[in-house]
């Protein structure tokens, strides 16, 4: 009785521990994904700066050329005056610096919204060669860096999850192996009395699944409430910068529950099966 209880607790603990870490890493990855996606959306424009006093014809050509490209959502003209206004707004406190300007040194520009900034290279190269285009600016570099960086973190996270799952399956199958091995005598006796493999296997697999599901439930509870608490306290403090990208706990609860339940009971069942195998050949 004591032996089984202790080993059950061990199994549940390992399953919960693994799933908890899995949950944390998952939330991290999801949040980073969120951030990357959002940043990509924000940087979805190409700025085309024009030479001073461009003719209407040249402007038409530019507009036409741009509009032909797939992935272009809209093209908008921004006059130098509008640009200065926007700048003043953005500078806020330091706007007084702009008040001292003699003339408006900013150029007219087209603002092109695109689908996905990653595929704007061709567009940019083409537009650059057009008459009357002074300079083309877009945030490809920033985005590229960000993407690579996010990729690294995601890769790292997935690696950690992979290692963890591997380790956990190992620990759990070992725990169960030990449970089974401590019941070796019991299994042997059952076999000698004429029990079939299925008859013996049944309860062990049930137990494995049961332990797995309990472990999953515990870890879901801890991860969910812990994360919700963290999420809310972050939001209270208004660290928008960061918490803006945190996934909403409510949105992931169902996914977490299904995922943890599946993984937990799967590991439990598999662990039992694998570890029983060697003992059933009596």
């Amino acid at each position: 009785m004591w032996r089984n209880r202790s080993m059950g607790i061990a199994s549940i603990t390992s399953i919960s521990a693994v799933l908890m870490i899995l949950g944390v890493v998952l939330i991290l990855i999801l949040s980073i994904n969120n951030a990357v996606l959002d940043t990509k959306l924000k940087f979805d424009e190409v700025e085309v700066f024009l030479v001073e006093d461009l003719s209407n014809e040249s402007m038409d050509i530019i507009e036409e050329t741009v509009k032909e490209y797939p992935g272009v959502l809209s093209i908008l003209f921004r006059s130098k005056e509008q640009a200065l206004e926007i700048m003043k707004e953005e500078w806020a406190e330091e706007a007084y610096l702009l008040d001292g300007l003699e003339t408006n040194p900013l150029p007219d520009a087209y603002i092109i919204k695109v689908n996905d900034i990653e595929y704007a290279d061709e567009l940019v190269n083409d537009v650059k060669t057009l008459d009357g285009v002074e300079e083309v600016k877009y945030y490809k570099d920033v985005i590229d860096k960000l993407l690579i960086f996010a990729g690294y973190i995601q890769f790292g996270g997935i690696m950690i999850i992979g290692i963890l799952v591997f380790i956990s399956v190992f620990i759990i199958s070992n725990t169960i192996k030990i449970t089974v091995s401590s019941r070796r005598r019991e299994i042997n006796i059952m076999k000698y009395v004429g029990a079939t493999n299925g008859y013996i296997r049944g309860p062990f697999i049930m137990e494995g699944v049961f332990l797995g599901i309990i472990g999953a439930m515990i870890s879901i509870a801890i991860v969910y409430f812990g994360y919700e608490y963290f999420y809310n306290s972050m939001n209270d403090k208004l660290y928008d910068l960061f918490t803006f990208y945190l996934v909403d706990p409510k949105l992931i609860f169902a996914d977490l529950a299904i995922m943890f339940g599946t993984i937990g009971s799967g590991i439990g069942a598999l662990g039992s099966l694998v570890s029983l195998k060697r003992f059933l050949n009596v």
Partner: protein, 231 residues
Amino acid sequence: MIKLVNISKEYRNGVTALYDINMEIKKGEFVFLVGSSGAGKSTLIKLLLKEEGISRGKLYLDGMDITRVPNRRIPYIRRKVGVVFQDFRLLPNKTVYENVAFAMEITGSSPREIRRRVPIILSMVNLSRKASSFPDQLSGGEQQRVSIARSIVNNPPVLIADEPTGNLDPDTAGEIMKVLLDINNRGTTIIMATHAREIVNSMKKRVIALEDGRLVRDEEKGGYSIEIPNI
């Protein structure tokens, strides 16, 4: 019922426990298996139970060749052969009652049938008072009687007992022998490995003697030792 043809058994560590054994045991017979310690009695029993593989020779049960059978068929063979082990082999987490009931459960007996039969068997081996005890709360002899109860509860056509009276006082041993004789009279074939000279000599049943792994004597109405028991 059981037929052994030229059977030999060599253990993995090189010990040859049985050499070239031939015997045939008919349905309803009562056979004593005797021989000094290490002669090969338990090994022979392990072969009959498919607990150990057979090195050479052929083994038949009920006309079927069971020398080699796939693992999944072994449980069904074992259900035909009740067995009392020298070391009891009781499930430590189950009570006496549950240990016996368990043997019925695995063969698919109905709960009602189990509730009816287990108490009868327990009273046959004089253990009704201990029905709810766990094995480690029992004396050696009591554990042995549980083992016996479990082996006969399913009414197997063959019953194999490895020193079923080894840990019993003569009175209890006598009662156990009565139980065995009783089920033997109802048609169960019994093979009993034993050192109990008095029991063998008084029962006048067939005696098969092993000596260092060889069959050295096979006698109807024999005695424990070779000298003919005084009449």
